[in-house]
Point group: C2
Chain length 356, copies 2
């Protein structure tokens, strides 16, 4: 079993801590270590570093090497440009196929939080077991609210297989982010799970499906694969990868694939989508505040406060996000945390490169 | 006419900008220049720097010299320790008496904001005119709300004199900060003014009243006065001033004095009592925000934001005070701005000298 960690994200919702050259996966967001480091650490001892591939853009290569000094150099795969997840996973599959086409690859986001790593390892071991047979397996998170920011997986409870005590249900359908009323129906039905973005398959299987649903991308991946280990690799990668269609694995492949199973999972998953998410998994004090760094809190509750240096003092406020770095401060209500990107947009329009 | 500017305050309600060694009067709070500099500047040309005395503690002497480089050295009077305003004004009166016992002294706080300096000068010129006759004159601010944080002046409209078109009414009584219902009655009656803390009298008159109501303080002031210009001055001041009773001029003298007149005034007065006051006199944008320094405001209204460096970004908030310095950030609702001192108390308890 190999793990392929997709570390190419460039989120803006963790400004002012996240910046263009310091996206979320390289930051400690509600954690002690950067999320990428946490992602690698929680795979131990199931998947050692020798069998972990990290895929990211060239501008992040130095950061990744610094965060994961034990990662073998060949295990860092560089995307010459961002082309969404289908080409990214295809590139990793092409490399793994050269090593072992029947190995199982676990595709994992670099920037999620998992509350119960032991349970997580048990479930991904089971998922990998099933994927070894040539099926696609995904982890689906049991929904706890009618979230409109996630994709859902409609599963068939009547077609369930048991993998050493772990249930894996047949996937009926992947569905895109639903409107509120639909999300409420999904939640009430008990027949939908959140799409976690974690997938398990062999290189052989995923390359076959890419060939079926994204044949042009498959042809370019084959040319890249043929160049692996040759002097032409860098040039071939640059040319062919840039020409692939930018599409997500979910939309480009999963929504059309058959023989897909989902393992319903509950292990304290959080996709750390915005600052308010820290209230869901951070250490909460007796007034519901999540506090990191130097803070003084007077008569305030339900707040998320993170400081990378300045003392942050709150008096008489509630349900606010307050984040301070050495050069910037963010204040917003928790229920507006999604809109932090509007600050980043405004700063980009003002060409404020110093704080982007 | 001389001006005596009392610059000895040590407020905590403008933390984190104000610190122990940088009290409010030395800071630009909603202004371009420090409040002390504004106070001196608005007297020009009525009272030139040569006739301005500044009274403050020794630890602030260097700051005052730096802010007012043209102030004659003899015009900076040092209080060896803080003893409230009666000994402070008495000390200034003792010094002025040595220069000219019949000169009029205008006693002015160093840290107020005046929206209409020309009108202010016209009224203090009139007040000084009347004080020259041996009366005590004060400026009373026409109240605009049932404020419980100020003292009030009960005046007699039927006993009014005209000074070149400016009315001066007989004071019936100075009253301390009232409870809310009483303040509402005062406001409704039209017979009360806010006590501005600005007084006009000759040294002869105020020293006589100090002698009458605070005889022990008067005796000590006399000993200090006798030592002015002698080698014994510093030692005498140190000993005698420290032994005076710490009492305000209002409580120790004004509440008992007769022949006191008040000039009802309206010149955009603001005592700059806390951060939320900036909303009353700062430049307000079309969404009711007062913004100073580097800010990005998204969907927010009614806020007071001041940055001394960091970029401050607000998203979806209203009626908040947000203040950022290089080492600290404050967030509180405008109606809790009075409670900022609770942060300072907390920091003092934690011995956080670095941010006090």
């Amino acid at each position: 079993m190999y793990a392929v960690i997709m570390a190419g994200g460039s989120g803006t919702r963790f400004w002012p801590v996240s910046r263009r050259d310091r996206p979320k996966q390289f930051l400690a967001i509600g954690t002690d270590r950067p999320l990428l480091v946490e992602t690698v650490a929680r795979l131990d001892p199931l998947v050692p570093l020798e069998r972990i591939l990290v895929v990211a853009g060239a501008h992040h290569a130095d950061t990744i090497r610094a965060l994961l000094p034990g990662l073998p150099p060949d295990n860092l795969l560089i995307e010459p440009c961002a082309r969404n997840t289908a080409p990214c996973v295809g590139l990793a599959a092409a490399h793994l196929a050269a090593r072992d086409p029947d190995a199982v690859m676990a595709v994992l986001p670099a920037d999620h939080h998992i509350g119960d790593p032991a349970r997580f390892r048990a479930l991904i071991a089971a998922a990998a077991d099933r994927a070894r047979r040539g099926e696609i397996v995904t982890l689906g998170i049991r929904p706890t609210r009618p979230e409109t920011g996630y994709g859902y997986i409609h599963f068939d409870r009547t077609d369930t297989v048991d993998i050493d005590g772990v249930a894996a249900c047949r996937v009926e359908r992947f569905v895109e982010k639903p409107p509120r009323e639909v999300a409420e129906q999904y939640l009430a039905s008990g027949r939908y799970l959140w799409n976690s973005g974690m997938f398990f398959f062999t290189p052989r299987r995923i390359l076959a499906d890419i060939g079926r649903f994204l044949p042009a991308t498959r042809a370019r991946l084959d040319r890249i694969a043929a160049a692996i280990g040759t002097p032409a690799y860098a040039e071939t990668l640059e040319r062919e990868f840039a020409a692939t269609e930018a599409v997500s694995l979910d939309y480009g492949v999963m929504e059309h694939a058959d023989r897909v199973r989902v393992v319903p999972a509950a292990f304290g998953w959080n996709d750390v989508g915005h600052w308010a998410a820290l209230a869901d998994f951070g250490d909460v004090d007796d007034r519901g505040n999540v506090l990191r760094g130097d803070t003084v809190i007077v008569d305030s509750h339900g707040c998320v406060v993170q400081s990378e240096g300045p003392l942050v003092a709150l008096v008489g406020v509630h349900d606010l996000v307050v984040v301070a770095t050495g050069d910037a401060v963010l204040v917003c209500p928790k229920d507006r945390a999604q809109d932090v990107r509007r600050v980043v947009d405004r700063l980009a329009a003002r060409k404020r490169e110093d704080v982007l």
